[in-house]
Each structure stands twice: as structure tokens, then as C-alpha cells.
């Protein structure tokens, strides 16, 4: 199996040079995306077979590439197999979507060569079994995605996004490099050797912080998230879907692999750090999302929220594992992994939907959309399912993973540590807030862009997207429903992952009456998505048929009522900014220093009155702006060194040499 995986990755890499030639051909992109679809589907099936193999074999191999004394180690265990499924399911969906979407691409030569390379890089990160291959693949993943972010390089905004992304990606890789450096000091770069080593407590603590910085910056944890909402929307939509839905999960994989697998038993304060980062990330991410009016940016910020939920689950798992409650740790860990899978599904779906809207209208700004449910009914249907799923509403999949996370939170009074006892209810409250905000955010996204009346001519003349894109979206939507009503299958499939990472599994689910899921015991809690779905569907259809048959089924069309004041101007509708105004007033005045400035023209002036809303990103102001300022201050000072005479340069070189010799001598 590992051979299949490696050959598939090799083919993906080989497609990269081929893509340069293909991008010149008129049907080249179809060939390339078709090939990517076949390969990722193969990889996904292989990984799935491996994950479902009852023997749970751990396969490894060493390739004679990379560092000569190390080689490249690869390994396929339950964790890699699960993340391979996530990566390649997302990759296959994105390739299928791109089969149709790529015709909107005006410069395919800037996208095609990097796309297979990017997919290959993500696969190699998940397969790597030594620090060197891991880091090379990680950096390759960053660079190829950077190239895709700046593919539309003529827009100044994208270039800035690419610049910030490149800086943050280097920072993240640096942190990981240091983490592996610390780990390798006693063992070497091979993961197997690191697993067998016994690093000191101080060293592992530093490694955890560094990994949280490195993987967290790639995943988008607050406050390292600043690049994400710039970079993810800048890429072409299928790549945005991959970056948000899949690459952030590869970052989660990096964190899990190092903290849960390579490091020895956790200490309780690790979980404290992870929880205190995860909870606020969830709430802040979605609050930011609520304030946006660009569809793709809303989705990017909502990715930050979901990463927060995943890290909260991982933090809970660490907390319980540190206290030896590994059966609860298994619950929290499974919840986190389930959310990884779920988020990959609905975030890819929603980005594809945004791509379809962008392709049909050329607009990402919600204030210029509206009424698309009439013009693009199938896209609207798929996106609706994505919106319900991401808002954690039953019977879809987002609810299941959040429900499991809540169940783990409810078991936390068993923890002896006082810090955690106080932190976990607060984090639970933050997650509850995030869930409610997410629903508000997606009511806004869907209501403004798809419902109502068109706010611009392009929205009024939009047309349904192509068949391939629709297939990709509808498939993902179907998976969202299936994962929501049959979560027991997923929980059981995740059992080997949880066994390998936290040493215990959740109770076996399939085979319970009516496919109910019972995380601990039936007397504590149970949930049956299938029955809720069937029950609600039956009640709804019964009500509809009873009323139609017994009462009335007549229907007339008439102008909208609107309390007697209908206005034909579509500008009378609520806009994205006005929709979030109440929430902005309640929460934004502190968190975003939001201000509304009304400018009234003087009497008798025909100028219209204006309302300006100012939002500040306080994290950017407090963290990034001072650093940027310090760097430019320092460079300004050092700049004089550029204009010295040759004499002074020679003196400088001589002094540097003396200092170095002194240092070496002492």
C-alpha cells in the first residue's frame, strides 16, 4: 500500500513539469485536473483501505533520497492514513471542481504547474517519518501554495497577501525547525529514534511551545492568523478550498504527530496553553468573519474558528491524557479528528460555492450579490447544506463533532488540576458563543448573497455553473449529510487513530440500536442523527400532505407586502454591513474598536449623508505593527552601511575577522 501511495506522489510530482507544457494547450487544464482527480482518488481509496484494515498494520519504507546518511523515511500508520484520506478527498473534490472551474482561469500557466506539486507536498508531509523530509515537504507545501496565492499577481492586494504569507510561513517553518532541532539533539532526525528517546521535561515543554507556534501559524491560531484571511481568498477558488479545507488540517497533523506521537506522556500545562489558545481562536475567528463583506474572506475567517474548535478538542485530549483519564481523552481526540474531517468537507464545499458565484458574477463582495437562489438554484442548494453543516446544526455533520466536544467538556470536573477546572468552563462558554456566532455568520452569508433581490446587474444576470463544479459540490453536500446521520461509522473508523495517539478508544458504535452514538454510556448522553433526520422529514412531509389535502393547497403570486411600504429599489434591502450592525455594536466596540461615523451634509446641500464604519484589527495593531515598525526602524539605521567608502568596508571586514578569531580562540 505504501508503494501505491509513494508512486502516486511521484506521478503528481512528475505532472508538474508536464503541466508547463499542458498549460499551453487549449484542453491542457482538463487533462491535468483529470489526472490529479484520478491520482488523488486512488490515494484516498488506498488510505481508506489502510485505515479500515482490521489489523491496523504500520508500514514503513526508506527511500535513498534526501540526506545521504539519513535517507527519506516514510511511514503509513493509522494517523497518516486518516489524514491522507482528508487530504486526498479534498484534493479529489478540488480537482473535480477545477475540471469545470478552470475555464475561468485567464493565465493557466500560473496555476497548473503548482497545483499537482502542492497536492504532492501535502501528501509527503503526512507520510514523512523523519524530520528532514517532513520539513522539506512542509516548506515545499508553503512555497507551492504561495505561488498559487500570487497567481493573480497583477492585483496589488494579492501580492501583499503573498508577502505576508511568505513571512509567516518562514516563521512557522523556523519554529518547527527549532523544535526538531531540540528533539534531534538526543536522538537524530528519524521519527522512530525520537519516539524511543527520553527528552527532559524542560526540553519537551519548549518543543510543545515551538510546535504550537509553527503548526499553529500554518493552521491559523490567533494571534498568528493574520496571513490566513489575506492569503486563502487570494488564490483561485479550488485552491482556496484546498488551503482552508486541507492545508490547515496538514498543520493540525503536524501538531498531533509531534505532540501526541513523538513526545512522551503530556504534562497538564500543555493542555492549558492549547486550550487558552484554542477557545479564543474559535470565538474571535468567527467574530472577524461576521464583520466581513467579501464571501471568501468570511470563509477564511470561519476556518480560523474551526481550527479553534479542533485545537480545543486536542487541548481537552491532552488534559485528560495527562491525568490518566485516557477514555475521556479518546472522546475529545475523536471529536477533534471528526471535526478535521467535517471541516474539510464543508469548507471545501463552501469555497467551491464561492468560486461558482465568482465565476458566474465576477464578484466576491456580498453587497453586490443577492437573489442567486433564482439564478443558480443547484449551487444555492449545495451551499445551503454547507452553511447549515458549518453552523453546527443537526442533522448535519458539524453538529456531531461539536456535540462530542461538549460531551468531553462536561466530563472535565473529573480533572484534579484547579487551573483546568476554571479554564475549561470558560473555554466551553467560548465554544458555545462561537457556535451561535457561526450560525449568525452563515445566515448572513447565505441570506445576503443567495436570497433577497439582486443588488447589481451582474448578480441579476448570473447563470448556473458547469456540471463538474456542481457534481463536486453536490457530492460534498451529500457527504456532509451522510457523515451527520451516520457518525457511528466515522467514530469507529477513527478508533485505530485514537488508540495509537491517546492509548484508548471510544466505545464501539456500529451495532448499537438504530445506529445511535453513545460516547460514554447511554445513561449519560446519546444522539441519533439518522432518527432525528427521519423523524423530522416524516413530520414535515406529514404536515405538508395533511395540510394540502385537508385544508388548502392554493397559491397566488403578488407583490411583496413589506407592511405596505414595498420599495422596488434593491438598495432598500439589508446589506452585509447592516446585517451585522447589532452584533458589531454589542461585541465590536471592544474587540474591534468599532466606530460608526455619520456625516450629515449641511442644510440645503444636495450631498447625500454618509455612514462610515471603522473597524480596527487590534491584534494587528498590538502585535504585528510594532514588529514591522521595529524592523523598518532597524533597517533605516543599518542603511548607512550601504554608502561607505571602500576604506571603511575594509576596516569593517578586518574588525569582523578579529572579533571572530577572538570568539573562536576564547
Amino acid at each position: 500500500m505504501i508503494a501505491v501511495a509513494l508512486w502516486s506522489v511521484a506521478v503528481l510530482l512528475a505532472l508538474t513539469p508536464a503541466a508547463i507544457a499542458l498549460s499551453m494547450r487549449p484542453r491542457g487544464s482538463v487533462v491535468l485536473y483529470g489526472a490529479c482527480l484520478v491520482i488523488t482518488a486512488t490515494l484516498c481509496a488506498t488510505a481508506l483501505l489502510h485505515l479500515l484494515d482490521p489489523a491496523h498494520p504500520v508500514l514503513s519504507a526508506t527511500l535513498p533520497i534526501g540526506l545521504p546518511w539519513l535517507g527519506a523515511h516514510v511511514r503509513l500508520d493509522a494517523l497518516s492514513a486518516f489524514f491522507l484520506v482528508v487530504v486526498n478527498l479534498g484534493g479529489a473534490a478540488a480537482s473535480l471542481f477545477a475540471l469545470g472551474y478552470s475555464k475561468h482561469e485567464d493565465s493557466p500557466g500560473r496555476v497548473l504547474p503548482f497545483y499537482p506539486a502542492y497536492l504532492a507536498a501535502m501528501n509527503v508531509v503526512v507520510l514523512a517519518n523523519d524530520a528532514f523530509s517532513f520539513l522539506v515537504a512542509w516548506e515545499f507545501m508553503s512555497l507551492t501554495s504561495w505561488a498559487l496565492v500570487v497567481s493573480h499577481h497583477r492585483e496589488a492586494e494579492n501580492v501583499r497577501a503573498g508577502y505576508v504569507y511568505l513571512l509567516m510561513a518562514s516563521f512557522g517553518t523556523l519554529a518547527l525547525l527549532l523544535a526538531f532541532g531540540l528533539l534531534a539533539s538526543g536522538a537524530g532526525y528519524d521519527f522512530d529514534a525520537i519516539r524511543a528517546s527520553h527528552p527532559s521535561a524542560a526540553l519537551t515543554g519548549m518543543v510543545v511551545i515551538l510546535v504550537l507556534l509553527g503548526a499553529g501559524s500554518k493552521a491559523g491560531l490567533v494571534p498568528l492568523h493574520a496571513w490566513l484571511p489575506l492569503a486563502h481568498p487570494a488564490a483561485p477558488s479550488h485552491v482556496s478550498g484546498l488551503m482552508s479545507g486541507v492545508m490547515t488540517k496538514v498543520a493540525v497533523y503536524g501538531f498531533v504527530r509531534i505532540v501526541f506521537d513523538l513526545l512522551p506522556e503530556p504534562v497538564w500545562w500543555w493542555s492549558m496553553v492549547v486550550l487558552l489558545v484554542g477557545g479564543p481562536t474559535a470565538t474571535l475567528g468567527v467574530l472577524y468573519a461576521l464583520m466581513q463583506r467579501d464571501i471568501k474572506r468570511v470563509l477564511a475567517y470561519s476556518t480560523i474558528e474551526n481550527i479553534g474548535i479542533i485545537f480545543t478538542g486536542l487541548g481537552l485530549a491532552l488534559a485528560f491524557k495527562a491525568q490518566g483519564l485516557d477514555w475521556v481523552a479518546a472522546l475529545a481526540f475523536t471529536a477533534a479528528m471528526l471535526h478535521v474531517f467535517n471541516h474539510a468537507l464543508f469548507k471545501s464545499l463552501l469555497f467551491f460555492g464561492a468560486g461558482a458565484v465568482l465565476g458566474a458574477t465576477g464578484e466576491r463582495d456580498m453587497e453586490k450579490l443577492g437573489g442567486l437562489i433564482h439564478r443558480m438554484p443547484k449551487t444555492a442548494f449545495a451551499v445551503l447544506i454547507g452553511c447549515v453543516a458549518i453552523s453546527a446544526l443537526p442533522p448535519f455533520n458539524g453538529f456531531v463533532s461539536e456535540w462530542l466536544t461538549f460531551q468531553a467538556i462536561l466530563l472535565s470536573p473529573q480533572l484534579p488540576s484547579w487551573g483546568l477546572k476554571l479554564a475549561i468552563p470558560a473555554v466551553g462558554g467560548l465554544l458555545a458563543l462561537a457556535a451561535a456566532f457561526a450560525a449568525a455568520c452563515f445566515v448572513k452569508l447565505y441570506g445576503i448573497s443567495f436570497l433577497g433581490r439582486p443588488r447589481s446587474d451582474v448578480a441579476a444576470s448570473a447563470h448556473e455553473t458547469d456540471r463538474f463544479s456542481l457534481t463536486a459540490m453536490l457530492l460534498l453536500a451529500a457527504l456532509c449529510l451522510i457523515a451527520g446521520i451516520l457518525p457511528g461509522l466515522l467514530i469507529d473508523a477513527l478508533a485505530p487513530v485514537s488508540k495509537a495517539m491517546v492509548g484508548n478508544v471510544m466505545p464501539h458504535q456500529v451495532g448499537l440500536q438504530w445506529l445511535t452514538i453513545v460516547p460514554i454510556a447511554e445513561s449519560r448522553s446519546s444522539y441519533n442523527g439518522l432518527l432525528v433526520f427521519v423523524f423530522a422529514a416524516l413530520c414535515g412531509t406529514a404536515a405538508a400532505s395533511a395540510i394540502h389535502r385537508l385544508a388548502s393547497d392554493r397559491l397566488r403570486r403578488a407583490p411583496a407586502w413589506d407592511c405596505g411600504y414595498p420599495d422596488p429599489n434593491p438598495a432598500i434591502q439589508y446589506s452585509a454591513s447592516s446585517f451585522s450592525q447589532p452584533i458589531r455594536r454589542v461585541f465590536g466596540s471592544v474587540i474591534f474598536a468599532a466606530r460608526e461615523i455619520g456625516e450629515m451634509p449641511p442644510p440645503s446641500s444636495p450631498r447625500p449623508a454618509r455612514l462610515r464604519v471603522e473597524l480596527r484589527d487590534l491584534i494587528w495593531d498590538a502585535l504585528y505593527a510594532p514588529i514591522a515598525k521595529a524592523v523598518s526602524f532597524a533597517t533605516d539605521r543599518i542603511n548607512i552601511l550601504q554608502f561607505l567608502t571602500i576604506r571603511r568596508y575594509l576596516t569593517l571586514v578586518f574588525v569582523a575577522l578579529i572579533v571572530l578569531l577572538l570568539v573562536v580562540a576564547l
Partner: protein
């Protein structure tokens, strides 16, 4: 035999909540009117309204989409399923393990999600204002509700309502500070969720302060009937929830005799009467709040709920 009894009690529960929901609304209206020294509409008026609305034609706005027509059924189904899972007279509901308290809250969340979308579908200013304010209220009420559920679930050791009710009815509970806080928080949330007076006014129309009515303004005929029935069911659900968690006496256990079930049902109707009367009294005694005072009101619920949960973490007996 057991399965048959569970099916019967589940079916009876579904019909009971559906049948009683308009009556509770009618009762609250009647009491409010009497407290204002008006005669008020007859108790059965909500039934008549529903039947009248169902028989009328639907007048649909020109640009309403298919979603607008489906949403009343979705809302009704979600609310009905949620309401039929809250134990009212007996515990042995066939599907009580289908959804726990968190899932019931989330089901109501689904109904609200669709309702807010319906407000935006026709593209009118009133619909938008209703949806926008509804999600603002929900963004505070839902977390407050969830954290209240946390505190209750931690005390009872379960999120399954049947087990919570059983635990609350036993002697193991005692008087707890955290339960008192949870009760106040749940009451505030229930007022907000049902668009009752300090938050929204169920009787107004054509007023900029309205929230719920603004969202459903474009509905007519059978669609409006279903939307109204859903909100009546939701009121009944919250009242039953408060009754089930805080006044769990008399709820028949799964293996009780027929007599106990009948007794439970009578007691349940008594509980509804008392709580409905209190609701009417409260609504008559208090004034409607400005929209931007609502966050403070709901924030209090959120803080109380969080405090209740923290107390539970700090001490097992508080």
C-alpha cells in the same frame, strides 16, 4: 409489551404537545387580558386562527424562492420533534435517547436558522431587520442556554432529559445555589427565545422594535399557520423544559401504571397553568426594552449560567 407502551407514550406525547401548544398561548393571552381588565379573546381563539389560516390561499411575494415555501415545514418539523422529546407526563418515551438536551437546543437552532433565512428571502427591509436582530439575540441566548445546560447536566451527570428529570425528582439534589442561578438564566433565555415581553412583543405589528413578527411578515395562509404553530410549540417546549428540570414531580417513570401516566398528565397541565400564569403576570408587570438593552439582559443570563457552571466545578455540593 414494553415497546408497545413506549410507542404509545411517545405518540401520546407528540399529540399532546401539538394539541396543547395553541391552548397555552391562548391561556397566556387570556390571563394577560384579564390582568389588564379586558375580556380578551376566548381560550380557543388560537385554534380558530390556525384553522382559518390553513384554509386561506397563500399569497406569495413575486420573488420568493422555493426555500421560502419549504421553510415553514422545516421549522415546524424541527420544533415538533424537539418538543416531543422533552418529557412532559412520562419518562418512557420511545425516542428519548435520539437527542439529548444539547441536540434539542440545536434542533431549535436549526429552526431559527431557517426562520432568519426566510426573513431575508423576499428582500424587504422589514425582513432584514428582523433577521439581523434575531441572530443578535440568538448569539447571546444560545450560549446562555448551552451553559445552563452544562451546569444542569453536570449536576445530574447526564444530558439525557429523562435522566435529568429522574435525578431532579430524587432526594439526591437538595437545594443548590447553582440550580437557582441556572433557573434564572433559563427563564431569561426562555423569554428571549419566545419573543416575550422585555425582549420582543408578541402582540405588536408595524413597529420598528419588533423582531419575530418582522421576520415572518411575508408569510400568509397555511405557511403563516405553521410558523405560528411552531412558535406556540416552542413556547410550550420551554415551559415544559422548565417544568421537567425544575419541577420534575409527578413525571411517570417508564414502567409506571396507566394511572400514574394519567396523574402525570394532569399534573403537567397544572404545571403549564401555573407557569403560564406567571409568564402572563411577568409580562404585564414589565415594560419592553430597547433593542440595545437586550444584550445586557441576556448577558446577565450568560453570566449567571457561567457562574452556576463554575460553582459546580469548584464544589460538588453547591
Amino acid at each position: 409489551m414494553n415497546a408497545l407502551r413506549d410507542i404509545l407514550s411517545q405518540g401520546a406525547q407528540m399529540l399532546l404537545v401539538l394539541g396543547l401548544a395553541p391552548l397555552l398561548t391562548g391561556f397566556v393571552r387570556k390571563v394577560k387580558a384579564r390582568l389588564l381588565r379586558r375580556r380578551g379573546p376566548p381560550l380557543l381563539q388560537p385554534y380558530r386562527d390556525l384553522i382559518r389560516l390553513m384554509r386561506k390561499d397563500v399569497v406569495l411575494a413575486d420573488n420568493a424562492s422555493w426555500l421560502f415555501r419549504v421553510i415553514p415545514y422545516l421549522m415546524f418539523a424541527g420544533t415538533w420533534v424537539a418538543a416531543s422529546l422533552v418529557p412532559t407526563f412520562g419518562n418512557g418515551l420511545l425516542f428519548s435517547w435520539t437527542a439529548d438536551l444539547i441536540a434539542i437546543i440545536a434542533l431549535l437552532g436549526s429552526a431559527r436558522f431557517f426562520q432568519a433565512l426566510a426573513g431575508m428571502d423576499v428582500g424587504t427591509a422589514f425582513g432584514g431587520i428582523g433577521s439581523s436582530r434575531e441572530v443578535m439575540i440568538a448569539s447571546l441566548a444560545e450560549p446562555a442556554m448551552l451553559i445552563t445546560v452544562f451546569s444542569v447536566a453536570m449536576i445530574a451527570g447526564s444530558t439525557q432529559l429523562a435522566n435529568v428529570a429522574e435525578f431532579m425528582g430524587s432526594d439526591a439534589v437538595g437545594l443548590r445555589v447553582s440550580l437557582g442561578m441556572a433557573f434564572v438564566a433559563l427563564t431569561i433565555v426562555a423569554l428571549a427565545e419566545n419573543a416575550r415581553i422585555p425582549v420582543d412583543n408578541p402582540a405588536t405589528h408595524l413597529e420598528l422594535t419588533m423582531v419575530h413578527e418582522a421576520m415572518v411578515l411575508e408569510y400568509s395562509g397555511r405557511h403563516l399557520a405553521l410558523v405560528d404553530l411552531s412558535s406556540q410549540l416552542k413556547l410550550l417546549l420551554y415551559v415544559s423544559l422548565i417544568a421537567c428540570v425544575f419541577l420534575p414531580w409527578g413525571i411517570a417513570t417508564a414502567d409506571a401504571s396507566i394511572g400514574r401516566f394519567v396523574f402525570g398528565a394532569l399534573l403537567y397541565i397544572g404545571k403549564l397553568t401555573v407557569l403560564g400564569f406567571l409568564l402572563a403576570l411577568f409580562e404585564t408587570a414589565i415594560a419592553k426594552m430597547r433593542v440595545f438593552r437586550i444584550p445586557e439582559f441576556l448577558g446577565a443570563a450568560l453570566m449567571l449560567a457561567l457562574l452556576a457552571t463554575l460553582l459546580r466545578f469548584v464544589s460538588g455540593s453547591l
